[in-house]
Amino acid sequence: MNNSKEQNEKVGVYICRCGSNIAGIIDVEGVAKWAEGNANVEVSRENQFMCSSTGQELIENDIKEIGLTRVVVASCSPHMHEKTFREATERGGLNPYLFEMANIREHGSWATNDKEAATQKAKSLINAAVERVVHHQPLDKIPVDINPATLVVGGGITGITAALELAEGGNKVYLVDKEPSIGGHMAQIDKTFPTLDCSACILTPKMSDVGNHPNIELMTYSEVESVDGYIGNFSVAVTKKTSYVNDKCTACSDCEEICPVSVSSEFDVGIGTRTAIYRPFPQAIPNTYTLSKTTDDSQCVAGCPIHQNAHGYISLIAQGKYEEAVGLIVADNPLPGICGRACAHLCEDVCDRGNVDEPISIAYLKRFAMDKVGDYELQRPENEQKQRVGIVGAGPSGLACAYDLRKNGYQVKIFDALPTAGGMLTVGIPEYRLPKEQLEKEIGKIKDIGVEFKLNTKIGQDITLKELEKQFDAVYVATGAHEERKIGIPGENQDGVLSGIKFLRDVRLGNKINLGENIIVVGGGDSAIDTARTAKRLGAKNVTIVYRRSRKEMPAAFYEIEEAMYEGISIEFLTNPVSVNGNNKVQEVTLQRMKLGTPDDSGRRRPIPIEGSEFDVPCDNIIITIGQRPDIGPLLLKTNKWGSVEVDQVTLQTSRKKVFAGGDCVVGPDTIVGAMAQGKTAAESIHRMFQKLDMYEGREKEGAYYSNIKVDLDGRVIAKRARIPTIPLEERDGFKEVNLGFTEEQAQREANRCLHCSICCDCHLCETVCQPNAIDYSMEEETVFLSVGNIIVATGYQLFDSRRIPQYGYGRLDNVFTSFEFERMITASGPTEGHIVLRDRKTEPKRVAIVHCVGSRDLNYNEYCSKVCCMYSIKFAHLVHEHLPNAEVYNLYIDMRTPGKGYEEFYHRLLEEGTHFIRGRVAEISDAASQPEEEGKLMVQVENTLIGKQQRIPVDMVILSAGMEAQADSAEVSHLFKMGCDSSGFFNERHPKLAPVATMTEGVFIAGACQGPKDIPDSVAQGGAAASQVASLIGQGTVMMEPVRASIREDDCSGCRICNNLCPYSAIEFIVDDEVSEVITALCQGCGTCVAACPSNAIDGAHFTNIQVISQLQGMLWDVQPEPEKANA
């Protein structure tokens, strides 16, 4: 140790015995004596309790009498008593920072049983403190003004209490909650234990006080984005989520009544549902409605090239609002019934329901709505325009284009080469899928709104494009793709090799075809299936489809493949024709087996021939359906190397300004909706051209796009996709329509499978009924910036997810309920109006088991006790007795935890009410009956540890008393406010005993269940405590901050600017003129990173200077220091 005294400071050393806490392990007298040996030490004493007033007076007197200039106390952690002793030092007349503390309790006597080692360590720490303190400099605390406004995060009972306390005291409060209403979990609870007062009755008055209080600015449906600054002046960014309802709302509930959407209600936790536009509960504060709506469209709408509002009509069908559904359908789609039958329904491929079980049968639902309503009207123009548009091709693309143009009032005339309108719809899709009548009806509807048709007119032959350009202000060319591609294999041109598309056309137009008995169809698309099934109907005996990839890659609709196989058509997968054999007339085809290689650009795996796997199959006809290509003919339009018309990708404008082109003749063979989408795009472009609008702006979402919506698919009940009824096999010889369409009951069930992934279905019915016009679909989310002096975080807890314990069967066994489901159930205003019933909503349980400690006191989940479950489980038992006097109630507990005023008494009361209390953790809950009497019951398997026996208890209902958990996002939140959270995610208080609501960050407080499991009284108490601490700070007006700050010695600064970017608070700025850096003290938080980084030692970290730390270091190592250093130190 240091026995040469070069500093002339008089250090007083005080060693605390802390009763036996320190003295029991450390030889305090010995150490005290030893310390005197340090040259800098003037006096060294030991005392029973240094923190006691006598202890502190000891310091004060010595300073006054012996004239100490420095003080060292060796006792507990500085986090415990540094403040105390600094004040003592100050009272003695010294600057409080001329004091240093040695932590010999937490780091010493409490951390080991080895007395010798502990004593040795104590010596080192004390010596270190002495060596450090002599280098201490007097410092002055930094005053900071406190902004009296306070931010309270979380509108549960805790936040409400804190907000009211502060507001009553005349301070401004911002109360932020992410839900549309304040109230938190307490609002969901029916009765509170042990007094059994009605939770709502005691909460709602406080809620409305908050709502009405002049000093409280309520920000619900909002979240804190960022927090900057420090105690006294934080600046906080809060994002207000879009509610689509403005403040005109009178909460009349008209919108709620008409809304067709029904999703699981957050407030009624799973046992209740809510509409898309909703109010969590009747007493909600603020008492307005909120429309939950994602920014992206639902998967089905986004995935549909024409953005048919499928989500909308599905929701309306579910509500039996068929007329409205049809209205919605025909608004986007002039071929509703046709699409309802023959659409490739890309919507179903992206439907999220498919990730649960199967996609919704979206297309057939549309067909149902159309069939059900029967007659309908397409939208007519509001006012007529003079511009005339000529459309070439009466296929889906032309018709869609015509409809959209007509809606805008333009004059439209459609030309087609064929004798009938409809294009591929008429000649490409077989009668049994799409009856003639349907086509005629829907084309009729298009005629009805004033679209003219001119058939049997081939462009470039009967009329030229030039003439059209003369007659019309714009032309849309959609001539489709009617020419079958060739495979390009030997023998392909012999008799008996047919083109699928021509084959189907001939059949549809009634032309004569001579077909053999054995047919090979080549291809895997819908037209392959159409061809095969048509061939079968024309009397072919054996029809075989040959497809080169596996079933998984087959483009044809799954359902079609099924039907084809059902009709006896066989499919050879991973097979491809290599040559057609015969002399001018097909006799056999040579096929080759394939295997799948790496995916090609279509994303499907590329088929690779297997050498030597060739084999011959005799056949009379081969029908090729590998896709069509456009035949533009003499159209004078620029075409690309595939013979498709070249167009502007966005506007579909061709090489000729007035002429637009789209559909199959541009993109090659595509789906019906694909073609329609192009028609609509063209219509939009033509409209923009006529109105002289920008041709490109804001068209990103035209056509199918990927929606980013993510829905929670957890625990969705598997529900079967409705299969469309079909006519029996024996009736399938002719071309009678195979699909019969859904029955109303089927349709309803099917529509109800919708997950409402975007929640709001955009049917806009609510707008139509809202008298005050409070609904505003154009609303956007906004971010507001608050400046506050203090923050109280009261973000509460979440319930343990009982699904994590599969053997308890929640989510799998209907009649296993969670505690909150039960709370909602017994609430008079809840979904079951206070009746305790099973999932069927009818049957009252005769036997109820209440399982304690679900997810709590369990190493597999949460080790801690959730504190409230025992009490609310007992409460449940009481409520069951009250509602169902004859029911047997079993409470299965590990230990009964009833500490609290009147709690134990309540427990005893229940014992008298006849509840069965069984001590033991439940092993399993199962519906597997092994004895007749167990049939239809839930069996609770438990070891009764009081009698040491296994028991199987048959019950009708199980309630899982799930524990409390930190909010899922507690980690992010703790970073946001610079607090810590413990391993379970609960926020860390500054001191477990002495500072339960303060955090490590000055000016940030925590209260309620976000700090740890708590019941209502404790949460309220903490809310109040936090409020009063804030109030005290506000009262002080200014607070003194630790003077631990960095400062730069100008002369030593080389202006290298290394420190500039290191500072997390950008508190260091570079003075260009003097070429030195400077610390802005107000911003500096004193971390010292810059001090350590400065290459020229030009930065001082007050109270943590290099010399202070290094002296401490050398003093600490007195006993192991090699000789040369001793000299040095």
Binding site: A111, A1093, N1106
Partner: protein
């Protein structure tokens, strides 16, 4: 002290997380090796490499630098800077033939008393196995001089 070898570790503990972790270890009466002597710094980012060297020069056998978990730093990201420095420092020390185990970095939040205690135990055993550092023989040579920087300090 008895003549059998007890490694001495200097611990630089940040005020917000790891120092409190050590406090918590004590408060919860977790018994662990008494070989670590703690120095409190506001942030692990304050730990200047020269502190580590000084510790070695003055006879420490190992140095433990402890801070908040990445992302939980009380000063936003001081601990990240610590990590950067720490890696550089290690490189240098290895070049001087100083074993990796001599300087260690630990993330311990205020609630991880046990975590810190276990680390100290582990490190003590590692150092015990390595034996004393003997900086002078190893780095400066028998008649080694003390680096200037430290003198000035």
């Amino acid at each position: 002290m008895s003549d059998h070898y007890e490694p001495v570790i200097v611990g630089f503990l940040c005020n917000w997380c790891s120092y409190r972790a050590a406090d918590l270890a004590g408060t919860s009466r977790i018994k662990y090796a008494p070989n670590m002597r703690a120095i409190r710094v506001m942030c692990s980012g304050r730990v200047d490499p020269q502190f580590v060297l000084t510790a070695f020069i003055n006879g420490a056998d190992g140095v433990l630098i402890a801070g908040c978990h990445p992302g939980e730093c009380h000063y936003v990201n001081g601990n990240i800077k610590t990590m950067r420095r720490f890696l550089l420092l290690k490189k240098t020390l290895t070049q001087w033939g100083i074993e990796d185990e001599r300087v260690q970095l630990l993330w311990a939040s205020a609630s991880e008393g046990i975590h810190l205690a276990e680390k100290v135990n582990a490190m003590t055993e590692e150092l015990r196995a390595l034996g004393p550092l003997r900086w002078h023989e190893k780095v400066l040579g028998e008649n080694g001089k003390v680096p200037v920087a430290v003198k000035e300090a």
